[in-house]
């Protein structure tokens, strides 16, 4: 291992600009002649627009344009799309209601886009928006998922008269029912997976620009996948053909899923730039972000686990209602279906699983992927069920898990996935050791002496990452392929540029991708530049989400590097006057086997470009290669997280005293960065478990729409984490990488709730387990204890 190669904790190349205030985020960009957009949003959850009069706003000095849904329709601009087709049990396609970027006759959630005011300054635009007269006729708001599908509920989209997007299922119902029929013990749970707002610290922003001379558009935007944005804006929304639309995602301040999607605001900014003939900039304020960023989670689930007389799992049965909000966001439909149900086997050998999912419209913001996307929801179901089952049959939760672990690989689960490799017991053993499981009893007694309640919770998670083989996802309804592309450009001086379709918004690709190049080409990482986030530079790419940039994005780079090395060997053969078959490449040098003749990578690069030693008929000059990598399977990172809490029953405050994470991510490129990803994921998972919850009141008003009311995890809410690894290299990609970006967020919530319920002695604790909720649960625990 070199000091900058694979496995080295290299300090990040990108940090200098961030720590000196020289990052360049979308809102930092100022285009000549730029105007400012302000969106008038619906204050009503559900209403028809009887009249919309923008004339007074338009007449305001400094206003350059006011646009509405009618203008979109006149220009033939298409609606926002959902790119994954889900079919219901009965074979019917999901019911996708129209989703115009600006409302056309009806608003469906508070924050829905009614009109846009474009002005010389943001202040003028805001003041002018006050003058827009909207005559709303309010309709009954549909907020509660259970009520949404009931009789008499108002209809949100005419195409879905019962407000059901789909009624989907996966697995073998007959086999599952049969297994339940002969079960010795059945554990049943009702679970709420609380609604979250992703909250990257940089809010969304967009600048649309139109070049009339070339009839071409540029969009600067906060995107995790600029090429997908261009594809959707071009092929579906119809802003411009792809070669006339450049999408640039510069430094992006976190995404966590919420910046995957193609939203109304960027669509409007790029379209409006041509309408007003000047660049149009929009930056979300935090409350707008709460209202209009796609939210995450929001499931109601009933789950059952069947056991035999020895505590062996026989079957699992799950019914989930998934809130999809008022419109189907870009990938919303697949999150509670194909990213959820196939994970219900967890790390366990469960012969039969059957899962039903109802996707439901409500008058709330659209719900889509948020860090983990479906897999945290699945893991919460599995790990709560397993924990409660162990407690009910009086088995140690660690031993119960170990007994049911999958041990032979590959393993075909009853829900699509074929796990390739893993060693779940190894992670559990290490975690038990690191948390000092044996000392738990003593620690509980120590806490009890102080009047505190101590509890420990496990979460043995698995995730399916590196999404995913294009043919596989295509067969499941995906509208795109999920490969990744890379191009490696060797320069004549021996430096290298890597153009990648992955996008970095905190993951440190500029460092880790350079480490791969350094490792393969034997050059310093300072000689390598990673180029991403610009559709004019990178040919195509699918972007960054689903912990795929390492497993898929870097595999594409590895493939391109192999081609560069192969080309380099040809060049070296001419330059060294040897046969190509005798050229070896090692530690950055091309050498003739068995001789001392060799050339450094940079020297061969120069030869490739000056092309003095070979003719164009024999070999093309240059040293540039591209590759597309399509994975052959999902990757399956797994691990065990253990959370130990101490609760003050007087105040309900839960203090996380210890956290141990033992993850198997396969091969790790940069352990420092990987650990950082785990820390951040755990923090978001703890946030879900203890603090965060997006709440709509009965009238559909979002009452948690700022950091005054939505509780984000802060430094003093969290402990330091003990993070460790086990390693089984991933067999399905050339680098052995599984992916690490979502693990913490997937693992953490059940670990926390299992710890709290262990401390309290009953299972009646929902997320977020705020001090108020835990205090109430502690009161109940005391009542139960007194009744015994």
């Amino acid at each position: 291992m070199s000091n900058t190669g694979i496995g080295a904790p290299v300090r990040r190349k990108e940090d200098f600009r961030f720590i000196t205030g020289q990052g360049r985020y979308t809102d930092d960009i100022e285009r000549p002649g730029q105007t400012h957009a302000y969106f008038l949003r619906s204050p009503h959850a559900h209403a028809t627009i009887k009249k919309l009069d923008v004339s007074a706003a338009l007449a305001t000095p400094g206003v350059v344009g006011v646009l509405t849904g009618d203008d979109l329709a006149k220009d033939g601009v298409g609606g926002l799309i959902c790119g994954w087709m889900i079919h219901s049990k009965d074979g019917s396609p999901m019911k996708a209601g129209a989703h115009p970027a600006l409302a056309q006759g009806k608003v469906r959630y508070v924050g829905d886009h009614v009109a846009v005011v474009i002005a010389e300054t943001l202040a003028i635009a805001k003041d002018a928006a006050e003058k827009i007269a909207v005559d709303y006729e309010t309709l009954a708001p549909v907020v509660d998922m259970n009520a949404a599908t009931g009789k008499g509920a108002a209809v949100i989209h005419d195409v879905a008269p019962d407000n059901r997007v789909y009624d989907w299922h996966l697995g073998d119902k007959t086999a599952t029912d049969a297994a339940f029929a002969k079960a010795k013990h059945v554990t049943k749970l009702d679970l709420v997976n609380n609604r979250l707002v992703p909250n990257p610290m940089e809010t969304r922003a967009a600048i649309g620009e139109y070049d009339a001379g070339n009839d071409a558009f540029t969009l600067y935007t906060t995107s995790q996948n600029p090429h997908v944005a261009r594809l959707v804006l071009s092929a579906f929304i119809g802003i411009a053909p792809e070669h006339k639309l450049r999408v640039i995602a510069p430094d992006v301040g976190g995404g966590f899923g919420s910046k995957i999607f193609i939203y109304a605001e960027e669509t409007v900014c790029v379209w409006a730039a041509k309408k007003v003939g000047r660049p149009v900039k929009w930056t979300s304020d935090r409350t707008e972000a709460f209202l209009s960023d796609a939210h995450g989670r929001d499931h109601l689930t009933h789950a059952e686990l069947a056991l035999d007389d020895k505590g062996k799992m026989l079957a699992m049965r799950v019914h989930t209602k998934a809130n999809l909000g008022a419109y189907l966001s870009t990938f919303s439909s697949c999150v509670p279906t194909y990213l959820y149900a196939p994970l219900l086997s967890g790390q366990y050998d469960i012969p039969a699983i059957y899962c039903e999912v109802e996707g439901i419209y409500t008058n709330t913001a659209p719900v889509d992927a948020y860090r983990g996307a479906g897999r945290p929801e699945a893991t919460f179901v599995v790990e709560r069920l397993v924990e409660v089952a162990a407690r009910e049959i009086g088995q140690d939760p660690a031993a119960f898990r170990r007994k049911n672990f999958i041990r032979k690989f590959p393993h075909q689960t009853p829900v699509i996935m074929a796990y390739d490799v893993g060693d779940y017991a190894a992670s559990l053993d290490k975690a038990l050791d690191l948390i000092d499981y044996k000392g738990l009893g003593r620690r509980k007694r120590d806490s009890a002496r102080k009047g505190k309640l101590r509890g420990l919770g496990f979460s043995a998670y698995i995730e399916a990452c590196g999404i995913a083989p294009s043919a596989a996802v295509g067969s499941l309804g995906a509208g795109v392929g999920l490969w990744e592309s890379a191009e490696v450009r060797g320069n004549p001086v021996g430096t290298v540029e890597v153009l990648t379709g992955s996008h970095s918004h905190g993951q440190g690709h500029e460092t880790t991708f350079a480490q791969l190049v350094s490792d393969r080409l034997g050059i310093s990482i300072d000689q390598v530049a990673i180029v991403h986030g610009d559709t004019d530079k990178v040919q195509f790419g699918m972007g960054t989400y689903g912990s795929r940039s390492g497993a898929v994005g870097m595999s594409a780079i590895a493939k391109a590097l192999d081609k560069v090395i192969a080309k380099g060997k040809k060049v070296a053969a001419y330059a060294l006057e040897a046969s190509e078959g005798d050229i070896e490449f090692k530690d950055g040098r091309f050498s003739v086997a068995g001789t001392d003749k060799s050339l450094a990578f940079g020297e061969v690069a120069l030869q490739a470009y000056i092309a003095h030693k070979f003719s164009g008929q024999e070999l093309e000059p240059g040293l540039k290669e591209g590759a597309f990598y399509d994975p052959t399977n999902f990757t399956f990172p797994s691990g065990v997280h253990v959370c130990e809490v101490e609760i003050d029953p007087e105040t309900g405050v839960t203090k996380i005293d210890r956290w141990v994470a033992v993850d198997d991510f396969g091969v790790v490129i940069n352990p420092m960065i990987v650990e950082g990803q785990v820390h951040g994921g755990i923090a978001q998972g703890v946030g879900q478990a203890l603090l965060e919850g997006a709440h709509y009141d009965a009238s559909g008003q979002l009452v948690t729409a700022s950091y005054m009311d939505y509780c984000m995890p802060r430094a003093d809410d969290l402990p330091s984490f003990r993070v460790d690894h086990t390693t089984t290299p991933c067999p399905s990609n050339p680098l052995g990488i599984k992916g690490c970006g979502e693990a913490g967020a997937i693992a953490a919530p059940p670990a926390v709730i299992n710890a709290i319920t262990d401390a309290l002695g009953h299972e009646d604790v929902a997320m977020p387990a705020t001090p108020q909720a835990v205090w109430r649960a502690a009161q109940k625990a005391a009542r139960l204890a007194a009744a015994e």
Binding site: D15, E30, P200, E202, G676, A715
Partner: protein, 164 residues
Amino acid sequence: MTTVTMTVNGKSVTANVDPRTLLAQFVREHLRLTGTHVGCDTSQCGACVVHVDGRAVKSCTTLAVSCDGAAVTTIEGLANGAELHPMQAAFREHHGLQCGFCTPGMIMAAVDIVNRKGHVLDEHTIREELEGNICRCTGYHNIVKAVEAGARAMAPGAAAIAAE
């Protein structure tokens, strides 16, 4: 419009501003110092922290005119040319940042903590003192380590020792 004069990162600046202009807007839009970020508008997240007369201030809820005559330091004014401030160096060394958006405010707040609490900071103190700054990426684990190390490196003589 109102005239406001202040010293920003050692340079005197005078500008005619709308009286409702916030300090964050002033440094970002008038001075084009875009290292100061706005993350929440309600002074909860701390991405906008700058120093006004040596004290940490949330610039998203401070009026520019209220800083008339003040000395303001933004993240751009922290390093000494190419030489990083010890707190900046500590954030890089300890991987105290990921997406980088909260980082300028986090570093400015951290320097302020050291100015108020000294060079030896325990984890508990650092976590409590960072209460006004939100990071969504790091889980704070490495930020805490960075602040602890940065604080030590800011002690008089620490840099000289490190350089030896």
